[in-house]
């Protein structure tokens, strides 16, 4: 169980900004997210950065219930 934060187009494709997903690594959490939100989300995830607690994450990083995995699609500047 890990917190998931979905931003911009990822939030729009998922239909939610915050969620909780099963999994003990970043990669497993994101697989669960794709299963839950479908192919629009999967397409955006493919070009997104993944942060864990505010820093760039690796799919193999371990996660627990207090961690937050964030999906950050390409940005459009200020």
């Amino acid at each position: 169980m890990t917190k998931l934060l979905l931003l911009g187009p990822a939030r729009e494709a998922a239909g939610v900004s915050h969620d909780v997903v099963d999994g003990n690594t970043v990669g497993v959490v994101l697989e669960g997210a794709v299963k839950r939100y479908g192919t629009d989300f999967e397409r955006i995830l493919a070009v997104s950065q993944i942060w864990l607690n505010g820093n760039a994450a690796d799919p193999l990083d371990q996660v627990g219930p207090d961690d937050e995995v964030a999906v950050l699609p390409p940005i459009s500047g200020g």
Binding site: G8, Q49, G54, A70, P73, P74, I75, S76, G77, G78
Partner: protein, 158 residues
């Protein structure tokens, strides 16, 4: 005074706000007795679209926590590049912003003006590419994400 302030020094102030920004407030805050120069940058919404519509406003979306954290990283990188800087403030608007309104303000003070100019330019250039911030263009009857996009880059890359 709200936003993430480095309270130890009272020299760094970053803030992501749904309320109108005041460049005057940042300029005054950045003015210090030992600093002869203050450079302020304001970015405003102009009538130019990436989607081909007559836009009436922009809608900015982010995570305040992640955005303020990244803004503090950008400020920290500026300090390591220009150690002689005085105060640094960076505020970014979120939510709906009308044409002509300010979306981002940077204010930097320094004893001499060259570093203040260089640091202000680095700060806004880096904020634009390093801080998580998504922009929707809004027009009469519709809206869409801005079509000029790029991956978020680290604060060292600029």
């Amino acid at each position: 005074m709200v936003g993430s302030v480095n309270l130890a020094s009272n020299l760094d102030w970053v803030y992501v706000s749904a309320s109108p920004l005041s460049s005057d407030e940042l300029t005054k805050w950045a003015t210090r007795p030992n600093c002869g120069a203050v450079v302020t940058f304001c970015g405003t919404v102009r009538n130019s679209s990436t989607t081909g519509h007559e836009i009436t406003s922009l809608e900015y979306e982010t995570s305040t926590e992640l955005a303020e954290g990244r803004l503090l990283e950008v400020v920290g990188e500026a300090r390591s590049r220009w150690p002689e800087l005085g105060a640094i403030a960076v505020h970014h608007r979120v939510g709906s912003v009308e044409l002509g309104d300010t979306t981002v303000v940077v204010a930097v003070s320094s004893a001499h003006r060259l570093e203040a100019f260089e640091a202000a330019k680095y700060l806004i250039d880096t904020v634009k590419i390093s801080v998580p911030m998504w922009k929707r263009e809004v027009w009469e009857g519709g809206s869409a994400w801005s079509e000029e996009t790029h991956s978020i880059v680290s604060v060292q890359q600029q």
